[in-house]
């Protein structure tokens, strides 16, 4: 057994340890002792004083409530007589003035704009020139827009994807209905389901046949958009939104029971967090190696090939996954309050 110093109990480390474990420190003990002493000394006196204070406080509260009531009555009378006319009048004048002001401002700004497509426009500077002239060599993306948003300005796109994710989480916090601990649906959930059944055609044969034909096409087009973002038009946001729309159509045609087989709250959280983390980590790698001129395993590759343009196709897929999950989560949370 280890030896302990005689003054170990009052040492700084022991006190810190006790504080860390949630116990009371010496200082706390002293303070509580003194407080107990005071309380025991003048218990009856303190009671009396407290009672007096309470009576005074209640009297003041009643007076204040009376005053407030009078004030409300006064304001209400004023608002229903003169105030209504005044506010109506003010509202109309202000609406016209603000509207005319904004129209004048916008039209004058539009008149001041430089002519469209002119070579001496301020937009035609060395940044745009660099993107257009060297974009394909540096990023390997044939689609200059993809090269810009996922390579030169990848940090912006990370922020945008995070905004989408945060929006989905906010909707989740606001609209998700809590389930009871025993797993049975709550009354609000039952109400929502009842609502759904009343106003929504379930098992509509025409819709189901249309959906079984259209959904694979839509999903395939979304995947094409994701994979093809660096070669042609498409990209993460468009492809992801198309895939989300396809999932929503499937949900509308076949109901929640079928979609819950493959898309639950767990799927949503795993896929979005994994996609965002992959984006952040891989882009951090390319930023660090690029900024410090270190050799990187990411190469632009042959422009025009499917697996080229370095990280762009993978980042497109990550962004698309986040967008798809967010869109689907929005819809299900709005409709059912759960996923």
């Amino acid at each position: 057994m280890a030896k302990t110093r005689p003054d170990y109990e009052s040492s700084l480390f022991a006190r810190f340890l006790r504080w860390l474990q949630g116990g009371s420190t010496q200082l706390d003990d002293e303070m509580s002792h003194t407080m107990d002493d005071k309380a025991s000394l003048s218990h009856s006196e303190a009671d009396k004083i407290a009672q007096e204070h309470e009576a005074k406080y209640e009297a003041r509260l009643a007076a204040m409530a009376e005053q407030e009531k009078n004030m409300y009555a006064h304001v209400h009378a004023w608002a229903s007589n003169q105030g209504k006319g005044l506010s109506n009048w003010l509202y109309r004048i202000l609406a016209v003035v603000i509207c005319v002001g904004i129209i004048v401002l916008l039209v004058s700004t539009a008149a001041e704009l430089p002519p469209y497509g002119s070579p001496d426009n301020p937009a035609h500077n060395e940044v745009a020139e660099r993107y257009i002239e060297k974009g394909m060599q540096e990023t390997g993306a044939v689609n200059i827009v993809a090269g810009m948003i996922l390579d030169y300005r990848a940090f912006d796109t990370l922020g945008e994807s995070n905004v989408l994710f945060i929006a989905a989480v906010t909707v989740l916090i606001l609209l998700r209905m809590t389930t009871r601990p025993d797993g049975k649906p709550t009354t609000s959930q039952l109400e929502a389901e009842c609502d759904d059944r009343m106003y929504e055609p379930k098992n509509d044969l025409i819709l189901q046949h249309q959906a079984s034909f259209l959904v694979p096409m839509i999903l395939l087009f979304g995947i094409y958009g994701l994979m093809n973002g660096h070669i042609g038009p498409g990209g993460g946001f468009g492809g992801g939104a198309i895939m989300g729309a396809g999932l929503i159509l499937y949900l509308n045609a076949f109901g929640f029971k079928k979609t819950e087989r493959f898309f639950t709250f767990k799927t949503f959280s795993i896929v979005s967090v994994a996609a965002l983390s992959f984006y952040a980590v891989s882009k951090a790698y390319s930023f660090f190696t690029g900024a410090n001129h270190l050799p990187s395993i990411i190469t632009p590759g042959t422009p025009g090939m499917l697996f080229s343009a370095g990280l762009i196709p993978y980042l497109n897929i990550a962004v698309g996954m986040v967008v798809c999950c967010t869109m689907y989560a929005f819809y299900t949370l709005f409709r059912k309050g759960d996923m």
Binding site: N143, V145, D195, Y199, G225, G232, P233, G234, G235, F237, G238, G239, A241, I242, G244, A245, I248, M327, F330, Y331, F334, R335
Partner: protein, 97 residues
């Protein structure tokens, strides 16, 4: 092409005005979808198909869907329906009386 662009721009302005004038929320939503689709064609004319795809999917598709669900949740669609049904019932009752 220029004529098509002008027609679409006029269509968009008409839609924007009529959305704010329409009393029926459901009609306003459908007009809004139409405006988004016209905007999508304008993006194609301006040679930015990336934006056109996103506009079609997000503007005309998912935003309108979410607004439809919201209208349903706040009983804006059902209210109009039940109002009409109530009117029908009272008319019928008056006929009988």
């Amino acid at each position: 092409m220029e004529i098509l662009g002008i027609i679409l721009l006029v269509f968009i302005i008409t839609c924007a005005i009529s959305v704010s004038v329409t009393k029926n929320l459901l009609t306003a939503l459908v007009i809004f979808m139409g405006q988004s689709l016209a905007m999508c064609i304008i993006w194609v004319l301006l040679e930015s198909p990336d934006l056109a795809i996103t506009e079609a999917a997000v503007g005309a598709g998912i935003t309108s869907l979410l607004l439809f669900v919201t209208l349903k949740k706040i009983h804006a669609i059902d209210l109009q329906k039940t109002d009409a049904a109530k009117k029908g019932v009272t008319d019928h009752g008056e006929d009988q009386a």
